[in-house]
Structures are given as C-alpha cells and as structure tokens.
C-alpha cells in the first residue's frame, strides 16, 4: 500500500533524529512513539501553516472564521 510505504520512509527518517528516552510508569510502546512522531509531524506542519495564516489575517485586520482555541492541523478527518 502506497500510504504505508510513505509512512515507513518517514519513520526511517525520524529514527535518524533521536534523543534519549524518558518515560512515565506506563509503557508508551515503541511503535506508538513512532506513531506519535508521525502524527506530530503531520499535525505540526498543519499547525504551523495555520499559525502563519492566522498572523497574516490578523495583519490585515481580518478576524478569521470560526476562531477557536483548537486551530485545525492536518491530521483531522
């Protein structure tokens, strides 16, 4: 599956940029940590884009539609 292959490439890329682990009493699971990194990259990209769009709109004095605390990222349905 194409999407899965892309995800695997992203995961390999992520593995290069790593820091030491430090977790709580629950085991977050190795696969789940990679999953959060994957989700995080997608979401952070969306979040950053939204932030700039928001700032640009504010610069021109326009109040964005449906303004809320939850600025949509890229990984919503």
């Amino acid at each position: 599956m194409k999407q899965y292959r892309i995800a695997c490439l992203v995961v390999l890329f992520l593995l290069v940029f790593s820091v030491d682990s430090s977790y709580a009493y629950i085991d977050p699971g190795s696969g789940s940590i990679i999953m959060t990194a994957l989700l995080g990259i997608i979401a952070a990209a969306g979040y950053t884009i939204r932030m700039y769009v928001h700032k640009i709109k504010m610069f021109f004095g326009k109040k964005p539609d449906g303004e809320s605390d939850h600025q949509p990222g890229a990984n919503d349905e």
Partner: protein, 472 residues
C-alpha cells in the same frame, strides 16, 4: 486494605508508585512522593491549573498540613505529603458509561492536556479511570498525573488514550460495535492490534481508522520484536517538538468531537415516549412514588431499570444523589444527554446489565469494585423491572427479592403481573416455566423480608406498586 484504625488504602491505586489514595472519616486523601509533592507545589499556584479546578474540570484538591491527624498517619507510611480531594459521590467505570459519556470524558482529557501543555505541563498517562462524574459533569481526578513537559519528549499517554478512549469510540461510531463488554473484560482497553481485525478494509479510507488503528497496529507489530530479541536497553526516542505534541492532541480532539452514534435521530424518536401506561395509571404511579419520596431527604437512591429516567428525575428532587441504571445503552444515553443540559445535576446515569452487574475485578479482584461496594443506597427504585429479571433473565423471584433485601434499603417496587401485556410479550417465544410468577407469591416472598408499608394497584390491577421497608 486497612492501614491504621480508620485509615484505609484504596485497593485500585497502586500502579503509579508516586502516590496512593486513602480513605479516612469519609475523606479522600492521597499520599504523594517527594517528586509528586514538588510538582504539586509548582502547579497548584499556576493560573491555568487554578482555573481548571474552579470550573470543576479538576477535582478540588488541597495540601493538608503535616499536623493533620490523618496526614500524620499517611506520612508515617513513607509519603512526603498528603493531598485531600473533594469526594466523588459515586465511583463509576468506563465500561458503565454511554457513548456520550466516554466521548465527553475523552474531550475533557484532551482539553486538560492541551491547556497544560501550553503552560509547560503534560499528563503522564491517559487512562479513562482518571475521569469521574459529579452528576453528568466529568472531572479529572488524578492530580499526580501532571508533570513538567520536557521539550523533545513524546506524549507517553498516546497509546493508552487510543486503547481507552479513541478505539472504543471509533468502534461504536463507525461499526456500531459495543465497547462495554470489551472494556469490562480488559481493563487496559482495546489494543490497536485487536481493533484492526474488527474494522473491514473499507474503513481504512477513514483517516482516524487508518492512522490511529491500522498504522498504529502495524508499527506496534513491527517493533514488538524488542521483546523477542530480549533487548533491555531503551530504544532511542524520537525528538518531538511541543508543536508536534500539541498538533497531535488537537487533531485527536477534532476526531473525537465529530464522532457520533449511528442512526441517532431514529434512536431518540423511539425513546421519546416508551411506556405502556395510559395517562391516568402513569399519573397514579408518579403520585405514589412522589408521596413516599417526600417523606424524607434521601442521601443516595438507586433507580434500577430506570429506562430514560423519568422517575430518576422525580427522585432527584428529594435526594442528594441518584444512580440511574439500565441495561439499555440508548435509554441511558437519552437520560445523559437530557441531564447534561442542566447546570448542576445530581443524577449519574450508568449502563449495566442488571442480571450481570459490574463485578469486583482487576488485581486480586479488588482493583475495580462491584456496584454494591461503591455506596449503599437508602432507597431502591425498581419499577417495571421484575418481569425482565424473572422471565427474560430467568432469575428466580425469591433470589431477586433476596438481592434487593441485601441492600438494607427502603424499596419502591412495581410488580408486573402475568396478565400484563408486557409480560405476555416476554413470554411469547418461551415455554412458560414461570407458574410461580404470581402477585400472591410475590407478596408472600416480599412479606418474609420486608414490611409492606403501602401499595397501589395500577393498570386495572395488572400491576401493583409497593413501598417496602426492610425487616430488622
């Protein structure tokens, strides 16, 4: 687990070694470690945290002085400090909650997480057991779960959030699979590897299913060889920026926010007016219940077999707290959604099969408690339930009344006679082995155990409602 005199350690609070919950003199106390106390000292002064506590999103909590009698006993157990929480009126578990309740508790968890992260804090876990209810208002109870967010770290609770909140909600919303038996049998929740087997391939087009179940399961399986290879060194973790964590949480919030029950409108229409009474008889029944309710102020009432909670609402006027229980998830959902609109409700709706009540379970059978251990009612309301118990569930009438007597509470009970149309419906496809299901037999068994204070025939004598008090 009795520690010293009146002090009792909670049997379900042991997983996080940084704290332990104790009960003393009807107070809820928490012994905390040095590290947890340090976190409390920092976070309790922060504005975002105070605000969440003020609006009830967090259970009101204070640090007890070391001179407090109960604190002294707990400190002797080796804890560095003692917190006191406001008492939850009645503990409940995710496998007793409706879809709407699980969804609202998931949203509360994500809201708290997001607000905390913006202020430099994170929740170390994401178990649904950290949310409890005051009426229909969810509140987060695990104050020790807050810890400073370290830049670069992932959200360690993601997998637990998926297993305890997201996967059960996705199963119900997209496949109409009931999560209650699954959450009740596995207290850790539903593993993505198991969930992926339930969803058909066509569900993979739904982004939430693809990412949080399918891909999550694949990655989990791909890295499960850590255990097989006996690798003991922690794997290098991936650096997560705060924006990545925040973005993930916000994405999950939007997914959960949009989830809903299938065929919701049809369900609500079916529950709009679902009793078999004419107006006169229904009025008589309500008047009888009201008459006996108003005789005193009840601390705790259980309305078992409550349906959509018409009588629970009458009870709520004369009681401090009402537990409304029914096996019909949609009836309880209807009650929850109705009660949620109220600013300060005192009704807790719960789903439970009344012939298979929540048991003691978990570690040593003490981690999650059975229904009776969580608070004894002063009044038990059992209206139009007995025919379901005796005929549908095949519970002998003597055993059913015996169980009710064990509560040692006043009882308002309705007997639905063998000639009633609803009893006939239940008997339609069954061999009638219930020849002892008669009003005379019911009254005889009831009189052996209770004082029959009052009664009132309903529906032309096909039914009768009784007010009983336990014999001493």
């Amino acid at each position: 687990m009795n520690i010293c005199g009146e002090l009792e350690a909670d049997t379900g609070s042991f997983r996080d070694r940084n704290n332990r919950v104790y009960y003393a003199e009807r107070k809820v106390l928490r012994g905390v470690s040095e590290a947890a106390l340090k976190n409390w000292s920092k976070i309790s002064g922060q504005q975002f945290f105070k605000k969440m506590m003020e609006n009830g999103d967090l259970i009101p909590t204070k640090l007890l002085p070391a001179t407090d009698r109960n604190a002294l006993t707990i400190l002797k157990e080796g804890w560095a400090g003692v917190l006191q929480h406001q008492k939850i009126p009645f503990i409940s578990y995710p496998y007793e909650w409706t879809f709407g309740m699980l969804k609202d508790s998931a949203l509360l968890h994500l809201d708290i997480l997001e607000r905390s992260l913006k202020s430099g804090w994170i929740l170390k876990d994401a178990t649904a057991y950290n949310v409890q209810w005051i009426g229909t208002k969810p509140t987060f109870i695990d104050i020790i779960s807050f810890e400073p967010y370290k830049e670069g770290n992932p959200w360690g609770g993601y997998r637990q959030f998926c297993m305890m909140f997201l996967i059960p909600l996705l199963l119900k919303a997209y496949r109409d699979v009931d999560y209650i038996p699954l959450l009740r049998s596995d207290l850790e929740g539903i593993d993505p590897v198991q969930a992926v087997k339930i969803f058909p391939k066509s569900s993979l087009f739904r982004k939430a299913v693809f990412l949080h179940i399918f891909l999550h399961a694949k990655l989990q399986m791909a890295f499960s060889d850590d255990k097989a290879s006996k690798q003991t060194e922690p794997r290098k973790a991936i650096r997560h920026s705060k924006a990545m964590v925040l973005g993930t949480i916000q994405g999950l919030h939007r997914i959960v926010q949009r989830l809903d029950l299938q065929n919701k409108e049809t369900i609500w229409r079916n529950y709009a007016d679902c009793h078999s009474y004419d107006e006169d008889s229904y009025g008589q029944k309500q008047a009888f219940v009201r008459k006996h309710l108003q005789s005193t102020r009840w601390k705790l009432v259980w309305d078992i077999g409550c349906n959509t909670g018409t009588f629970s609402q009458i009870c709520s006027e004369f009681s401090d707290y009402v537990i409304s229980i029914d096996g019909d998830q949609y009836a309880i959902e209807a009650l929850y959604q109705k009660q949620k609109q109220k600013a300060k409700g005192n009704i807790l709706p719960l789903i439970m099969d009344l012939s298979n009540l929540s048991p003691n379970q978990g570690w040593l059978g003490q981690e999650r408690k059975d229904l009776e251990s969580r608070g004894q009612p002063e009044l038990l309301l059992c209206l139009a339930l007995i025919h379901h118990m005796v005929i549908s569930a095949n519970i002998p009438m003597r055993d059913y009344l015996g169980w009710i007597r064990q509560m040692n509470a006043a009882v308002i009970i309705e007997f639905v006679g063998p000639g009633d149309e609803m009893t006939k419906v239940l008997l339609k496809n069954k061999v009638n082995q219930y020849t002892d299901y008669t009003k005379e037999n019911f009254e005889q068994i009831a009189r052996e155990r209770f004082l029959m204070v009052d009664s009132c025939p309903l529906k032309g004598g096909d039914r009768e409602v009784y007010f009983l008090k336990p014999k001493s």
